[in-house]
């Protein structure tokens, strides 16, 4: 597929349906986006001790991230250097080393080769090779417990990639009484028959909730889900949002950035319910002092940070890590780890789990309808006409933000998706 053809699929206010349906484009996305940029891999609280590991696929490739005895975090391909079997089947666990089931080659938890059975049959030259360990993932980036990997030795530096969305991670950590997040609280896993972009776009889509999630609204108010919250108004005054020009969610802001990143802010401060819970509030005041706590409260304004292409960090209420794993052009898997703040009162953490269960589980009140809509989109996009998907809301009405290349928009504008597709086009047109 030539560069000009790919470039023609993305306009300022539209993208071609083929971006979601064409298997050849999906293969190129794996090659040019997922393998070249950064992907979120795991949170360090999932691997606190020496020998702890998690496995995953990134760009459909099997990967292990493990804690070495030195305390360092190692990321390597889950593929025996001998004949190719994966050396670890578990999703997580603790192991002093990884042993291949095929011929017994053994690797340390940082990936180094530890032993080859019956080694005498190999030549000294063969055994002197330094690349017989598990192949390391080319680049690893860590920031305050968040581990990212890049499958390419070259490309955007981690610091530049992370810069626009650091604010979300920093705010979360400021709200942790003991300065740490815990991601080891079980998880939700779901699959849908649709393209990966449906999910990553959904992370900054505040146009859809009153419609996709109509079944969660009673008397104009969405059911109370967050700890300490009484539920919030979904619609303006007593009018149905279909009838008015502006959504309740337009009180929120979308911030679009380079590298396909974006974040979404809360529509109103009454939705930041947990900071009002007295026992938790006291812990944070004790940690920060009154003055700094007031600033932290002021800085608590982000709902979702969407790290392109695979990671949504929920910064408010049902805080969680959500990772999108593309399987095929029309099939995706999503893994959601609810977070809790280390040192926060137990009832608050229980509140987060309760919210997670009704929000991101496959039997939840919210995710279920998103998944249904993703699948309906995938079916609909097979139509030959119209060719285009419109991403025109608020186009050219945005204001510049503080960060280079940042655009600030109303909550329901499609500024986040446009940021995603700008980067998509940039990456996909580099051979």
């Amino acid at each position: 597929m030539d560069i000009a053809e790919i470039a023609s699929l993305v306009g300022d206010d539209r993208v071609h349906a083929r971006c979601y349906t064409d298997p050849a484009i999906f293969e190129l996305e794996m090659e040019r986006i997922f393998r070249r940029t950064w992907n979120f891999a795991c949170h360090e609280s999932q691997i606190p001790k020496s020998g702890d590991f998690v496995t995953m696929t990134i760009a459909r490739q099997p990967i292990i991230v493990a804690r070495a005895p030195s305390g360092e975090v190692a990321a390597m391909f889950n593929r025996c250097s001998h004949r190719g079997s994966i050396v670890c089947r578990e999703e997580s666990g603790n192991a002093p080393n990884f042993t291949c089931p095929f011929h017994g080659w053994v690797f340390r938890c940082n990936g180094e080769l530890a032993g080859i059975p019956y080694r005498e049959s190999y030549s000294p030259e063969f055994l002197a090779q330094t690349n017989l360990g598990l192949a390391p993932v080319p680049r690893l980036g860590r920031y305050r417990g968040f581990v990212f990997v890049s499958l390419s030795a070259e490309g955007v530096p981690f610091e530049s990639y992370l810069a626009p969305l650091k604010v979300g991670i920093d705010n979360l950590l400021d709200r942790a009484p003991e300065g740490e997040l815990i991601a080891d609280n079980g998880l939700h896993r779901y699959a849908y028959k649709g393209n990966w972009k449906h999910q990553i776009e959904n992370g900054i889509d505040e146009y859809h909730p009153p419609f996709s999630h109509a079944s969660t609204i009673k008397d104009g108010k969405q059911m109370a889900r967050a700890y300490g919250s009484e539920g919030f108004h979904y619609t303006n005054k007593n009018e149905k949002s279909e009838d008015v020009g502006r959504s309740h969610f337009d009180h929120a802001e979308i911030h679009g950035f380079p590298y396909g990143h974006s974040y979404l802010t809360v529509a109103d401060r009454s939705r930041v319910a947990d900071l009002k819970v007295p026992s938790y509030r006291e812990l944070l005041i004790k940690k920060h002092g009154e003055k700094r706590f007031a600033e932290v409260e002021e800085e608590t304004f982000i709902t979702n940070c969407v790290f392109y292409p695979n990671f949504i960090l929920r910064v408010n209420n049902n805080i969680h890590l959500r990772v999108v794993r593309p399987i095929a052009v029309d099939r995706s898997e999503v893994w959601v780890w609810p977070l809790r703040f280390k040192g926060a009162p137990d009832d608050m953490s229980e509140g987060i789990m309760r919210y997670a269960n009704v929000h991101t589980s496959v039997a939840s009140f919210v995710q279920t309808d998103d998944l249904e809509v993703f699948e309906r989109c995938q079916e609909g996009l097979n139509a030959q006409a119209p060719e285009w998907v419109w991403l025109a809301r608020g186009l050219k009405q945005e204001k510049p933000g503080k960060h280079p290349g940042e655009l600030v928009a109303q909550g329901t504008w499609e500024t986040g998706m446009r940021a995603q597709f700008r980067y998509w086009k940039e990456m996909m047109t580099q051979a």
Binding site: L187, E333, M353, S361
Partner: protein
Amino acid sequence: MENAPKPRRLAPAEVQEFILFEAQLLNERAFEHWFALMTEDIVYWMPAREHQPNGRMEASIIYDDRTLMRSRIDRLSHPKMWSQNPAAKMQRLVSNITLDHDYETNGMVHSAFAAFEFRNNEQRIFGGTYEHQLRREEGGFKIARKVVRLLNAEGVLWNLGIPF
């Protein structure tokens, strides 16, 4: 061999009939009648992993108290619950209904289920076990706690619309 499994007593007809009646109500989408079987302090739990100790501090597929159960049922009759539009048809088979060794004190009943679901031209099969904690109220049984252990709870799951 101290921890060797011991056979459990087959549940008496009255208990079996109650468990099967509950499944019938779900099969027939009689959700209000189903809800009426629950005690005020009902806990309806579908763990997300095999040895999950409880639903409080860890993600579950479902961990409902009465309030959430009420919302769950309200939603099932909402015309804009897109994921049940069209609605799934389900058929549950419940078997192996036995009494817990401490049934006299805890009211716990164990059973196994297989469930078939048909929606959108696709049939799915589920299996697992139930734990019912029964309590006698107003002359009949009520469910104080129901735990649904789905065989594939730890797998990547697809939408589950109707309670099990």
